[in-house]
Each structure stands twice: as structure tokens, then as C-alpha cells.
Symmetry: C2
Subunit: 227 residues, 2 copies
């Protein structure tokens, strides 16, 4: 069946994101350097983030709460009020960072939205993702926006059901093999993988994926060769 | 035009919620009683919550972050690590409270979903609202779930557009005049107001609303007289 709907991931596919988290993380580790070397505190933070994932989900607010909890652990419960204030500041700044689009995103969406129904599928905090979408100026190209708490097979199944689509009519475009590509291929859909230069530990897949319905690209402008 | 879609609010309409926030708030104020009397710290917390609302939105994670920030203010920056740990515990417990349905919710939904398309429209943290819906066992009655960051006229307009509805075919049922009732009436829709015994300060409307398309009920089972 011909493709009808093209779905896009947002963070690190349409706009820069992971780099901002890395900067925040690095500021957090510098803040706590008196208690622990940076390479150790970054591991501790990640451990606490994973531990809290099922309660907090993805997004900046959960990240802030995990930074506070980690600071208590890293400092062996001696963290001071100034450090907690700094963590709140780091998080609030992250919530207000300007949205910077990746190269060629706007012309690609503008041209594709005349031929296909475009959908945005993203995870994270509801309000924060809406803010970024609004700031991006890209909202007008999307027929539908889906902000989800997870990107597993059942989540894509729900989105396809909702849009009344057969998986073979659906292609997903994104930077994360784990969240954007593998679940869609498993359902019988198509996928375009465009890696971003930084990948969060949690999204890493340590094997090479080859699949007849997967196309690897190095940047979004190469979509025009296929769609 | 006859009603086609009945939309329900969730917190304090289908299941108890505000009471849990009040208990958490009260525990927070007791914790800080050495620094400030409870009736003052509850005001300080609300002030900080409002101040952060545009950044954090609704939901427990933002509430946790505002409790931490308030504790710093209330203690004049002398709060200790144990207090911060207690706040994290209060918040994590809130994220895991069992869902307790209001009386007669299940039989009412079960009967209505044979006659109308039922929709859930709720605000708060995405993952937390999904958890509560899943735990409630009510998911099967809903054609569509909409978790929104705000419940203003434009948000209802988007939901109606999405469901391809004229406002006169839409009725909203909820406990908050501000979020569930007024915006829907303003758009030309129908509304059933079922007050809950506790109303959060932020949702209060201090005037009496009378409107030909508004029906006041005292409990959900009274819907059967109208629908």
C-alpha cells in the first residue's frame, strides 16, 4: 500500500534537544564537584533517573526532581540550600531554552505536507513539548500532534488506530532506533533513521539494525530522494 | 442538534483527587511548622505554585518542585536535607496513591457508553493521568482520551474539531466551573456541573452561573434523568 502518513519525532529530529540536557547535566556535576568527581556524579544521576523513570516518565520536571535526589546522595546528605537553588535554576532555564531547528527542517516539512498527512509523535512533559512546538513555528504543517508517555509498539498501534491506518501506510522518521524505529518496523511500518550526533544512554541500541523497510539517512533533506 | 459526544473530566469527577493533594499539603505544612505556622506556609506554597504554573503546568511533579522551592523560602534558606527528602517522599507517595472511584461512576459510564460516544478530557501530568485511568478500570468505556495542558476555550475547540463535532452536539461533565463548564458553555456546548466537596483555590469561580445549557447536579447518578 502506498504511504499515506509520515510521522516525525521532535527532539533531535526537528529541533536540538539532547545537547541542552548534556549542558544542564554538566553544570549539575560541576556544582557537586566538591563531593564527587564529575564522571562519577553523572553515573549516579543516570542511576537515579532510571530508578524514577516509571514514576516520573520523560521530561524536564522529572529530570529536575532526579537531580535534587542525586545531589542528596552524591553529597552524602550534606548538600546545602544554595546547591538545591542552583538545581532549580538549571531546570527552569532548561524549560525556557529557545527552540533551535535542525538544518533544512522547515523546507522539508513544507514540501512533504502537500503530499502526505504529517503527524508529530513525541514524548516528554506535555506543556514543555507544546511550548517547543509553538515556538518552532512548525505546528501548521502537522495534521495531528501526539504527545505520548512512551514510544513502544502499543503506543504506535494506538496512534495508527486513531488515524485509521494500516502499518504499511505509515512511516516514522526519527533519531532514536529504540523509540522511533524498532517498534514501527516490528508493527510492519516503514522507518527512516536520521541519527543525531548525541544519543542519551537510555535510547542507545548496541546492535546494527538492517531491515527492508528501514532507510538510513544522514540528514533530513535526503528524505526528498524517497518521499 | 442531538447530543453525540459526552466528555468527562477525571479528577474529582470520576475519582477522588483534591483530597489527596490537601493531605499532602497538610503534611508539607506540618513538616515546616518550626519555621512558620501552617496557615501561613499553605499560602506561601500556593503563591509559589501560581508563580511556577506557566513553566510547570498542572500535576504532581510541578507540585513537588514548588514544595521544594517553598520550603527554601519558608525556612529562610535554612531548610535541612531531611525536609527535602520528606518532600520527595510525599510527592512519590502521591504518585502511587490507589485510585478510588466516586459513587456510581462505573454503572453510569457503562450505561451511557451504549448510547453516546464518551470522551475523557483531563489535565495534569501525562504519565500520572494514564496510570490513574488504567488503574480505574474505566478505559474501556472511552472512545477517546485527551490529556491536555489547559482547559480553555481553544483546548475544547481543538478536541471538538478533532472529533468532527459541532459544539451543540457536545456535553461536558465535570466539577470545575472554571475548567469544565464555562469554556464549553462559551463555545455553545452543553454542560453538567457536579461539584466536588473540595475545590482547589485555583479552580474557584466566585459568582453564580446560570445558563440555559447548564444543568447542576449533586451526583453523577442524576445524569440518567437527562441522558
Amino acid at each position: 500500500m502506498p504511504l499515506k502518513t509520515i510521522a516525525f519525532d521532535a527532539d533531535d529530529t526537528l529541533w536540538h534537544n539532547e545537547g541542552l540536557f548534556r549542558e544542564a547535566e554538566s553544570e549539575f556535576c560541576q556544582l557537586l564537584e566538591d563531593y564527587m568527581p564529575q564522571h562519577s556524579s553523572v553515573k549516579e544521576l543516570y542511576r537515579i533517573e532510571l530508578q524514577n523513570m516509571s514514576l516520573y516518565g520523560y521530561g524536564i520536571k522529572g529530570f529536575m526532581l532526579s537531580m535534587i535526589e542525586s545531589a542528596i546522595e552524591i553529597s552524602a546528605r550534606t548538600v546545602n540550600v544554595t546547591d538545591i537553588e542552583q538545581i532549580l535554576r538549571i531546570g527552569k532555564e532548561l524549560l525556557q531554552k529557545p527552540v533551535v531547528l535542525l538544518d533544512n527542517v522547515e523546507p522539508v516539512l513544507s514540501s512533504l505536507h502537500e503530499k502526505y498527512r504529517l503527524v508529530l509523535v513525541t514524548k516528554g512533559d506535555l506543556l514543555d513539548q507544546q511550548r517547543k512546538l509553538q515556538q518552532s513555528g512548525l505546528e501548521k504543517y502537522f495534521h495531528h500532534i501526539e504527545i505520548v508517555s512512551e514510544k513502544k509498539e502499543e503506543d504506535y498501534q494506538r496512534v495508527m488506530g486513531h488515524l485509521d491506518l494500516n502499518p504499511t501506510e505509515f512511516a516514522m522518521i526519527g533519531n532514536s532506533l529504540k523509540s522511533d524505529i524498532l517498534p514501527v518496523l516490528n508493527l510492519g511500518g516503514h522507518a527512516f533513521h536520521i541519527p543525531y550526533h548525541i544519543t542519551w544512554e537510555h535510547e542507545k541500541v548496541d546492535r546494527k539494525i538492517e531491515h527492508p523497510q528501514l532507510i538510513q539517512l544522514s540528514q533530513i533533506s535526503e528524505l526528498s530522494q524517497y518521499l
